[in-house]
Structures are given as C-alpha cells and as structure tokens.
C-alpha cells in the first residue's frame, strides 16, 4: 500500500492528489473562471437595475437544490476515494451514488433552462441572461465531462465493487469532480444570490 492509499492524515501529508499535471488544468480552469466571475461582477455593478430585474427571474430554490446535489455528490466521491484506499468493495456503489446525484443536477438544470427559455429569456434577451446561460453552460459542460469520467470510473471496479485501476486516476477524477462543485458554489453565490444597489 503506497503512502497515498491508507487514507490517514500523516500518510497524506505532502501528497499531490492525482497526477501533478492535472493541477495545471485545475488552476488554469480556476484562473479562467476567476476572470469570468470578476467580469460578471463589473457588469452587475455597472447596470444593477437591469441586471437585478433579470436576476429576480432565477429560482434560487433550484440553485440551492443543485448546490446541495453537487455538495453531496462530492461527499460520495470523496468516500469512494477513501474506500478505494482501503480496498473496500464499496467503491463502485459510492461512485454510482455520486454519478446519480450529478445526473440529478443536470435534470434540475434542464428544467431550469427550459423554464427560462419558455418565458422568452434566452442567451440574447438581456445582459444578465447572456452571463447566466454562458456561465452555467460552460459549467454544465464540466458536469457532463465529469459524469462521463464517473461512468468510466464505475466500470474500472471489479465484480465485487472494489477499485482496480490506478489510485492516481481515481484521485485525479475526484479532484476534477470537486472542482465542478467548487465552481458551482461560486456561480450560485454570484448569479443567484448577489444583489447590488437598488435591485437588492
């Protein structure tokens, strides 16, 4: 068992989860989204009334539901990594639970987008909805890639459900799935909750 696989704090100290090269992608993504977040904030304070009017059309309840779905999905994939480190046959079930919750996120997003489009709020209808569809669309692409990865991970388990692939692959995939969660947490705060000025 290598130092990364026994799951205790001391053994993990100084350990890079996944392949080191993956972190270039992770930080590149964080950097790009950071610029997107600040760009949105500049537009929000530049035209708070118009932005706020469109923003009020969002269902914060659906945003919160999706936040809880992804946070819980993250909890499951983190436990799948722990299970794999222990050689537990529970790994596949935990991966499948993460996959199911991620799929539910997509379902909620489809309902949400469908509602807005049905009410005539599309990519081109206002500045706010351009940001909303662009940002949640780029994020949704990450979710779909993540769901593909989770599906592939589940197939790498043996018939008992234990993880059989390289640990770095599982860890790296989990890190990507957590990134999807992290970015959503920020999108939820900025798009759904943050108000400015008179529109507050």
């Amino acid at each position: 068992m290598n130092p990364a696989t026994d799951g205790n704090e001391t053994a993990l100290r100084g350990h890079i989860p996944g392949e080191p090269g993956l972190w270039v992608l992770i930080f590149g993504d964080l950097l790009v989204f950071g610029v997107l977040f600040v760009t949105y904030a500049v537009s929000l304070v530049g035209d708070p009334d118009a932005m706020g009017l469109s923003q009020q059309k969002l269902s914060r309840g659906l945003g919160l539901a999706n936040t809880i779905l992804l946070l819980t999905s993250s909890w499951f994939i983190a436990h799948a990594v722990n299970a794999a480190r222990r050689g537990s046959p529970r790994a596949r079930r935990l991966i499948l639970a993460a996959l199911a919750l991620g799929t539910a996120f997509v379902g909620v997003k489809v309902v949400e987008w469908g509602g807005h489009i049905g009410h005539g709020d599309t990519l081109n209808s206002s500045s706010f909805f351009t940001f909303y569809f662009m940002y949640t669309g780029i994020h949704l692409l990450h979710v779909l890639i993540g769901l593909g990865v989770l599906t592939w991970l589940a197939r790498q388990c043996d018939s008992s459900g234990a993880w059989t692939g390289p640990f770095a692959v599982l860890e790296g995939s989990a890190v990507f799935w957590h990134l999807v969660d992290l970015l959503w947490v920020m999108l939820f705060a900025l798009l759904y909750l943050l108000r400015h000025g008179a529109a507050a």
């Binding site: 100084g14 964080l30 946070l71 983190a78 436990h79 992290l182 705060a189």
Partner: protein
C-alpha cells in the same frame, strides 16, 4: 458505519448549512449582504478545495496557489462591488 469519514461529513454539513444560510442572507437587501454572499461563497470554495480536494495535505505550492486564488478573487470581487460599485 465505519466507512463514513466524520471529518468529511462535518464539513459537508457545514457546507449545506452555510448554503441555506447564505440563501437567506440575500433577503436582507443591505449593502453588507453583498459582502456576506461573496465571503460565504469563497469560504465554501475554500472548504471544498481544502477538505474534498485534499489541498490541505498537498505540498506548499498547491496550498499557496489555491490560497492566492481565493484571496485575489475575494479582493477583486469586493473591490468591484464596493469601490467600483460605490
């Protein structure tokens, strides 16, 4: 249920609770609510990174880069909101 990590579960509960609380904070409509929403969002991102992505155990360079991302983004968002936005 020995397979459940107490630490991950506590942080998951914190994240869910904070999500619900930040949901309510936006109803205040005050100037401070913006800062509350931004800081809570970054706090949640920090927990996801540190605990779920295991950055807290990673080498210093990863911890420093992640910390820098949070601080710079937080400063930029609060700056835009309260200096540019007046």
């Amino acid at each position: 249920m020995t397979w459940i990590s107490k630490r991950l579960t506590v942080f998951w509960l914190v994240l869910v609770a904070v999500s619900v609380l930040s949901f309510e904070s936006s109803l205040f409509g005050s100037k401070a609510a913006g800062a509350i929403v931004i800081v809570i969002g970054l706090l949640k991102a920090w927990i996801v990174g540190s605990e779920f992505m295991e950055i807290r155990c990673a080498p210093l360079v990863l911890r420093a880069l992640f910390g820098a991302w949070l601080v710079v983004l937080g400063a930029a968002l609060l700056g835009v909101f309260y200096i540019l936005g007046g």
